[in-house]
Each structure stands twice: as structure tokens, then as C-alpha cells.
Amino acid sequence: MFRKRHQVEEHDVRRDARVAGLREFQTPSLEAVEQRRRQLWQRTATGLAAVAFVVVVLSLLPDQEAAVFGAGRAQIGVLVIAGLFFLWAFEKESALERLTRSLTDERVLTAALTNRLHEVSLLLDAGKQMNAVLELDELLDTILRSACELLDATGGSVMLVENTDLVTMAVLGRVVPPGHRERLGDGVAGHVALRREPVLIEGKADAETFPGLTERDHYVDSSMSVPLVHRAELQGVLNVNAPLGRSFTEYDLRALAVFAEQAALAIANARLYEAERAHVAALLELRPRREAG
């Protein structure tokens, strides 16, 4: 259905282009339409000026000569021609208007597709970088750096769940120190972890909404916190801060939430790898003892 509709729209655009006098119309271009519109109105103005000139000349003829030439009928004829000419210009202008609208719509669609491709490409790059790292500490730094690059943030932190606490594992910029602990449910990150809902904060966080909030030693205009959840298991919370004077939007929050899904997967893999490595190390430790025994 979409294809058929697209063909119909393309046909409409070509018809409008033909009516508007853009016979060489191959690639849609707003500039070509504007140029054609200028030409059209220049011609219309010239044509109407010529008509006005003829009408004035005919009206200035002496009565005798006017009778010979049939000036009255000629004047009416010229005015009829002018009317038809104006209708022609009006039809062209209508076609140009429709064409402008269609081409603007195409540009909007192209821009939306380009933006989406850019976002997907950034997320893929971030995903590649994250999947290339298996050491947890290095991975958390990569996640934080990538998130800040993606959203033009100045800083932030990654907190991981440890029993009933959230522990700050990686920081960027002036935020809480590494190792800082918050109970699940306390403060912004605790709230996000408990509810598993992304949060966008503008200005200072409200202590009523976020009980157990700790005072920060610096102020940020805008910040976002998203839960890191993989297969229904909470891994931690990712926080990012906007530079002074800039506010994050719901659009940024959505992008961070999508990014967090990949980050949570990478963290789960890194944790699994750490656990396996510890397991192997324990087995290797047992081997000499068994050989000795």
C-alpha cells in the first residue's frame, strides 16, 4: 500500500512540476522551484504592463481613428487576454505552491531519516566500544565517556548494585567520589533504581520527591538518571549532568535510556566474565594442592 501511495505522490509531484513549467524536472529541488516562481512573476508583471500599455494607447486614440480600428472591441479583447494570462499564472503558481510543499515534506523526511541514522550510528559505535572491553572498571569508564559524548554532558557517574546499596564505581567531572554509597530508594539514583524509571531533573532535585537526597557540593542545571537493567535484573544506575546553561530534554532522556540498555548488557557480560575468571583462578589454585596431595 505504501509503495502504491508513494508512486501516486511521485506522480503528483511530476505533474505539478510539468504544469509549473519545470520540464527538465529530474531531481526535486526547492531552489529550482523558487527560480521558476521568480521567472513566472517577472513574466506576469511584464505581460500585464504590456496589456496596460495597449489599453492606454487605444483609449488615447482620437474618436475617428478609434472607430476605424474598432478600439472599443480591441480594448475588451486585450482585457480578456489579460484575464486568461492571469489565470494561467495563477494555475502555475498553485502548482508551484503544491510542489514547494511536497519538496519541503521530502526534506523533512530525509532530515528525520538522517537524524535517526546518526543516532543509530552513535549507538552502534558506543556498543562496539563497550563490547570491546571485558574488564569491568575499564568498561564502566567507557560507558560513562560514551554517554557523555552522546549527550554532550560534562560529567556523570555509574553506580552498581551491591546488596541493598548503590556504589559509585566510575565518575567523570565534579560529582560524588568513587566508592560513595547510597541505599536503594534514597536520593535520585536510589529512586531510579527502585522504580526502574528514567528521571530527568531540571535545577535542584526536590527532597520531597527524592527522600534521602544528599546535598551536592555543586549545582547542575539539568541531569538525567537511568536504570541499568538486563534481563529484568538491576545492574545499577547511570547518571549524567548537563553543562551549565544547558538543559536536557525528554528526547535526550529517551536516547540515554536506549544507550543504557546496551550498557547494562555489557556490564552483565563483564560481570559474568569476572565471575568466570575468578572461578578459573580458584580451580587453578586447587590444582597444585591436588598434585601435591
Binding site: 523526511l109 537524524n115 525528554e250
Partner: protein, 143 residues
Amino acid sequence: MGIHRPRVLIVEDDPDTLVILRVNLNASGIEPILAGDGRTAIARIQAEDPDAVLLDVLLPGVDGWEVLEELHALGDPVPVIVCSGKNNPHDIQHARDLGAVAYLVKPFDIDRLVDVTYEAVRAKRPRIVVEDASPAVEGLELA
């Protein structure tokens, strides 16, 4: 026989949703025009005077709320239907305060969207002739 098709501006950043809404509105006798961000939306509203606006809230740069605030501040009478993924009372009230005529929660039924759009168009132009008009909905509501 009707010749005037109401012109509706779709403001949406997601290309798939843009195309789906464009095709469906077109098939329902509405002439859709598109904007992918807030700035383009305001420019097209001022330049082309649409009969109604379908406004997504999540937009890059100038977001849907800012567009609504600007239209409200300008006193622009164009009926705006806010489309959002969130169904929280605060947002619904905020949209109402800023003059939106309806609030639709995504994912929405396309027939319902068409009905609400026609009702919004009628609110701007009391008597409008359309091709293949969908049945009217009784009164607008924030749903």
C-alpha cells in the same frame, strides 16, 4: 462533492511514524504536511496556516512543549493535538493549560486519531467540506 481537504501538520521526529501518519491521514482525506523538529513546525505553522497540528512531545532541539508554549504565547488559534508516550495527569493538565484540544497516548488507534483530527479541524473552521470524511466524534476530550 468536496474539494477542500483540511491541511494538518504532523510534527514527529521518528521517520517511520511520520510516513505511517502521512499515508493514513492522506487516505482519510486529509492533506498532511510534515515537520521533524520544533523549529520547522513553528515555521510551517506560520507560513502555511494548517487547520490542525499533531504534535509529538519528544523532539530534537525545540521540543513539543516549547512549540505549544510559543503558539500559546503568540495566541495562534491553530488546534493542537498532543501525542505522547506518557499518560501522566501532570502532562495532560499541562497540555490543557497550554491550549491543546486533545491529548493522545501512544500507541494510539489510527481511526481514533483521524476522528480527533477532524473534530479539531471543525473546531477551527465550523463548516468544512471534505472528501471521504470520517464520522465525527462527540466533543473533544483529553484521552
